[in-house]
Symmetry: C2
Subunit: 465 residues, 2 copies
Amino acid sequence: SETFQEISPADFFYRNRDIAGFTNPSRAIYSTIRELVENSLDACEINGILPEIYIRISPEKEPISDPSIYKIRIEDNGIGLPSNVIPSAFGQVLFGSKYKLRQTRGTFGLGGKMAILYGQITTHGQAKIISSIGDSKSYEYTLTMDIQKNRPIVIKNKTHGNKSRWHGTIVEFTTEGDYSRAMAKILDYLKQTAIVVPYANLTFVDPRGRFYKFDRATTLMPKPPTETTPHPHGIDIETLKRIIDVTNSRTMKDFMKRHFQRVGESTARKFLEFADISYKRKPKNLTQEEIVKFVNAVKNYEGFLSPDATCLSPLGKELLNTGIKKELNPEFIAVHQRRAAAYSGYPFIVEVGVAYGGDVPKSGGILLYRFANRIPLLFDEASDISYKVTNDMMNWRHYRVVPDTPLAVFVHICSTKIPYKTVGKEFIADRPEVEHEVINALREVARHLSLFLSKKHHMEREKKR
Amino acid sequence: SETFQEISPADFFYRNRDIAGFTNPSRAIYSTIRELVENSLDACEINGILPEIYIRISPEKEPISDPSIYKIRIEDNGIGLPSNVIPSAFGQVLFGSKYKLRQTRGTFGLGGKMAILYGQITTHGQAKIISSIGDSKSYEYTLTMDIQKNRPIVIKNKTHGNKSRWHGTIVEFTTEGDYSRAMAKILDYLKQTAIVVPYANLTFVDPRGRFYKFDRATTLMPKPPTETTPHPHGIDIETLKRIIDVTNSRTMKDFMKRHFQRVGESTARKFLEFADISYKRKPKNLTQEEIVKFVNAVKNYEGFLSPDATCLSPLGKELLNTGIKKELNPEFIAVHQRRAAAYSGYPFIVEVGVAYGGDVPKSGGILLYRFANRIPLLFDEASDISYKVTNDMMNWRHYRVVPDTPLAVFVHICSTKIPYKTVGKEFIADRPEVEHEVINALREVARHLSLFLSKKHHMEREKKR
Ligand SMILES: Nc1ncnc2c1ncn2[C@@H]1O[C@H](COP(=O)(O)OP(=O)(O)OP(=O)(O)O)[C@@H](O)[C@H]1O
Ligand SMILES: Nc1ncnc2c1ncn2[C@@H]1O[C@H](COP(=O)(O)OP(=O)(O)OP(=O)(O)O)[C@@H](O)[C@H]1O
Ligand SMILES: [Mg+2]
Ligand SMILES: [Mg+2]
């Protein structure tokens, strides 16, 4: 007869770590760096801090013979963490500060822990975390993860004075990595991060002691993304019940206005009339049938304003233009930002750029750069919606683009919830609303490219005469 | 300042249900059916029971206007469940009987719960489970899931007499689905399941009351897969520490022989000598350094026998041949089963078939059928390793195959751990060892195809003279 078992979420992601991007020492060291950098950038940007991030990978033994043991160290000047949450933030899977409706790189409460977990199972090491929120103290923890219980084990715990009122976080641990195989991707990741985060100072020291400095190109930071309330179209029975549980509203009308974005007096009344629920009804008294009625009505009601995108923080045309120019020095650039759209109640903005000539490679198809919430996506290109739109759906011939045209396409999507297909955050699912935005954005820049190419063609023919 | 939160695994997969294949009502009803059928087939096969599975999707309101509310009911004659685990098996995420080293369809402890969860958040319904292990009692539970706590809530609980000593499980709940959009995929899934599970009786009744019967083509069942012990190459520090925790071995030599597959007296001694660990050492006394030394040595030692594949249950050439013939009635078939291989200590067997002519479509590229542990994979084809090998790596021209050749390729992989790329089990990651097996298997059948095509070509030229 069968034996039954429950496992913790840490154990689940330990057993299935390839699903989170920790497949082998080469992929794991890449995922380690990207998860840590994304945590540091979030910790700076959310709080309007110009990021200063220092990353070092140093060999634990020489000579290096990959795969090898490395010490990973990352330092940032972000908001830091309060002492009491440090062990859980770095030692408990499904714990974090990003379970909100807000545009952040982090979303699962898992990434930093996966990096530490992989280091622990390959080197038996301990992770050291030092952090301060910028007050008079900084806190140092040495910890390991109890994977079966999904609990941090604090080995050591020190409090230091913080005279300089430094704020930030330092994370240090050992891990097995194949740096020589991952190097190109790691450098690519940092370089592309510098394109979309041009206000950050990134310093990377590799195992051979080589310095890579990505100096900030501007001190102008885009407005930080803000937390928003749910849109009615994002509501299902579970979400509704949770809001009812915590509400102080004494009427359904007030409930609608308080808990949903962009619902005012008249929208609330009209919707409740459409849903056939009395606007005076006490939310906590709704019956099961009324809850189902509400959720069905919310899906069918067409009178809601579209989701508010002011909470989002897109790159902007200027930043995208500058980044593409710096990366490819092209003969021609066109960028376009679509108006905000939504899928399942989540607002999102698509921004694209197309570059022609200059350093754009002449062969090997269209060079595609993909970004989501300012994160460069470097793997599984062929599974991504942007790849499908760029290569299968766009009719480039219509815009005078032929197989050998040196073309690069940049796609950035920002949202309160990026529809990643996997926990490893490498590609985006093909949602029809997202597909619609990407293809229309590409057609817009392709139009400008087409005008340029026809002029260029015309001038070249003139020259020949 | 940031606020921190921990969430349960049920909450994690609720928020990220698209990662588990529950994206929208059309995809969700497909995923619901496949997760339930896979549970029923496991419950039969693991125990050598000829499967009798009955699936019914019935509309909760007429006329149907998709997406719509449906009642889902599935009955099987499998091994059933003991009363005390029924609530957790169907109401607690990351709970199950398949966290073992054994070839089963289930692997995550999540699928059945996702189906019930999606039904609950779209219809506020309750799930009814009736099960018996074939003794004098059967047990009926009505339950819902507390998603935030990841605990089942038992609403009702009845014990019935079981005079007929029936064994099996019945699962029933309501869910929102878009059956008209999902219908083709659901029927395809059942039809392809019948190909690789020809000893099962499957009955499906759709929302319009139409019966689809897939009668068993044979009563011969392949030997059931068995549970196996870890192979040394599958060991990391965490796994080693867990085995040390539970071992009764008093020497490292005995530890090696008892806990690892295919390690006998001489292999144990030779390996421990290679690892520079005394074979008399008590496992529970190993120091941290010795644990690291052991794990590093295990990766580098080349004297281990390859992982034992006798625990696996491949389809077999005859079954594959019969299934392909029944599906496509081709002019020519070739099938091949590779010898067992391994990745990361997990044994796997690749079996392929190629079919030409008959009902194979003449256009639209090579028709690819993918299976893993006898599960048909119907989505995300372009991301799957078999697609890449079939379309990007195979040089079909070399085998006389041209763009309009009516060709179908079948790939089945069985393993104690299928390297799925996602929790939704729709495509397989490109592990180099798996890629190697698939391409060599395809070349083998392509050779036979090539001989056939050249004969056919020759005979057609003869005819023309
Ligand atoms: N460098 C840092 N500075 C400040 N806070 C941090 C830092 N790194 C991690 N944290 C905190 O620890 C939490 C957990 O991080 P972790 O990477 O595990 O998950 P996440 O970033 O929330 O989501 P994801 O799994 O998508 O990365 C974060 O939510 C954040 O609150
Ligand atoms: N029809 C059934 N008959 C017998 N046992 C069942 C049945 N359905 C589910 N179970 C039991 O419930 C457990 C949980 O099922 P669930 O589908 O949630 O996870 P799983 O099958 O173990 O893994 P996966 O998430 O990969 O499907 C199973 O492991 C099995 O023990
Ligand atoms: Mg993170
Ligand atoms: Mg299952």
